[in-house]
Amino acid sequence: MLDRVLATRSLLPEHDLSFLADAPVIFHCHHFNLFLDQTIDDALGVEAGTALRTRAARDASYHLLSSLNRKLGLVTPAERLELAAALFAAMGHGRLEILTQATGGEGRGTWLHYGFAWHEKYGQAVRRRFPADAMAAGFMAAATEVAYGLPRESMQCTETACIAMRAPRCEFTFKPGKAEVPEIDVGTAQARAVVRPSFTGLYEDKIAAIAKGLRDFAGGVAGDERGLVQAFGVFVTLHLSTYYNRISYDAWNLVRERSPASLPVIEALLRESGHVCVFNTFGGILLSPEWEGMVGKIQGDPVEIVSGCTAIGRALGFGHWTLAELKPGERLVLRTPSTYESSYWVTREGPAQQGMCFFVQGAALAFMQLAERVPWTQRPKLTQEFYVELFRRGVPWSVKETKCIAKGDMACEVVVQKT
């Protein structure tokens, strides 16, 4: 069955955007996932934050599961729920038991990515007092809606026990509710309508070759017996970009309405989620035996690091990132005709007044930190302690999104400079 699921994967090849059964997907690590969820809760409060995250997961998952069931021709609720649980594990999100009917029911989770990774990363330092697995909750709610042909956005789900709170497993309850008005899906056609004509940049041949090799490698990645993907020193998920975009932009919109003075603060934290992700995951890939086998042992040359990171971004489905300018020690200009963020923003929000690709901003900033501040020849371990020590006093570089497709430009362009 999973082979048939994987056969529904597609790519906008000149734009490096990936889709699974029409739903946009990308690879992201636990550092990004946890920090972004935390930022949403910081912005809205835990209760409203959890509600938004659950709604976003249900929204994005419904698009994926309904498209997938149509493509695979699955009919019965049992086979649809079975597929959902298997897919969730294959994507690296953990193991689910979905025990629901059209009237509601229960769900259970073990090794759930969010709860487990939170416990691993923060559990010794902080006691968590609320559940972490809105993604699993929303996913199971959508799976139930799709399985029983219920109105979209109608199934309510609450996580009642969570491994991040030291429970032995995660538990969920479901009940039908009033259906919300669905948002327009951001699928292949919408992304195709938003992206700009593609172009190339510096070191293109090298970047394209590495990106292709990495994409082929990533295509075979699937959850282990726990339903987790543990690689390159991080927990990796194949995730739904609509989830990330909806929680980020709904929270951003709410902050703009309620507390506009805090807008720069949430933007800085959204950038930081990209920064922590790229620093750890891209850095982990560059230091990995797989990279050494495919590209060669990393030497620490800034051009090597930045071009390598650009290729990794493409392979993970973040867009057709190109290098427009690179002056080691001084300046980087990253330019792209496609980002998963702008596809969503233009489709659901319309024209923007400013650059909205906060992930790309944080990612580009991290490129230069990896290039300039990591002693590669010493083969450092990219631990939480290393990260905190390096950035405790801030980042001595600035970043600005000078162009954005969301505000009508022909590309998204991010400039990073030493301060």
Binding site: D42, V126, S262, I266, L269, V388
Partner: protein, 194 residues
């Protein structure tokens, strides 16, 4: 480390196995003075505040046990070191960092001897407590899992601008209370003892 405010080097010169002596002043957990072996890589200023927090946490623990005493001593054995923390008169805490293989009996003798010497050189004053906002945000920086982003998180949660949080000594009492409540939530604590 050469000369210090209390000339600690001369106090410890004949103490076998000692690697550092750090004097913390309470309740702000700031370093008052320190001596360390020249081969020790750590920064005493960073260690001093944790030693102060440890004493405070143990005081709270003993209070919960209804077992408060005047002569509390905390002993920690880990990572090739033996650490002894001892409260001193005048709101000071002495932190002795010893080699782990130093016999415990010898450590007790050394600690007792140095404490007697310290008692003759420590100043007697009532330290001025720093404003609550300063203490709370210092605590956050010490314990937040992502300290580089901690202040941004407080700003987003409270709505207080970053320039206000960057001058915590000027926070009003109401602002300081909101910040304290937020820090408690971020750290997942029932109570915040600062």
């Amino acid at each position: 480390m050469s000369d210090t405010r209390l000339a600690l080097g001369s106090l410890v010169k004949d103490v076998g196995g000692i690697r550092a002596l750090i004097i913390t002043v309470m309740p702000d957990c700031l370093m008052f003075d320190a001596w360390k072996h020249e081969q020790e890589p750590f920064e005493p200023e960073e260690v001093a505040s944790y030693f102060g927090d440890l004493i405070r946490a143990n005081r709270e623990g003993l209070r919960a046990l209804s077992s408060q005493g005047e002569d509390m001593q905390v002993t920690i054995e880990a990572g090739g070191r033996l650490v002894v923390l001892r409260e001193l008169p005048g709101d000071f805490v002495a932190g002795f960092v010893m080699q782990k293989d130093t016999p415990l009996g010898m450590v007790r003798i050394h600690v007792k001897r140095i404490l007697e010497r310290l008692a003759t050189v420590l100043p007697s004053f009532k330290p001025e407590e720093r404003p609550k906002g300063v203490r709370v945000l210092d605590y956050l920086r010490r314990y937040a899992p992502d300290p580089h982003a901690a202040l941004l998180r407080v700003s987003l949660r409270t709505g207080l601008p970053m320039d206000v949080l960057n001058a915590p000594e000027a926070l009003t009492e109401a602002q300081a209370n909101v910040v304290a409540s937020t820090v408690r939530d971020i750290l997942g604590l029932e109570e915040l003892h600062v």
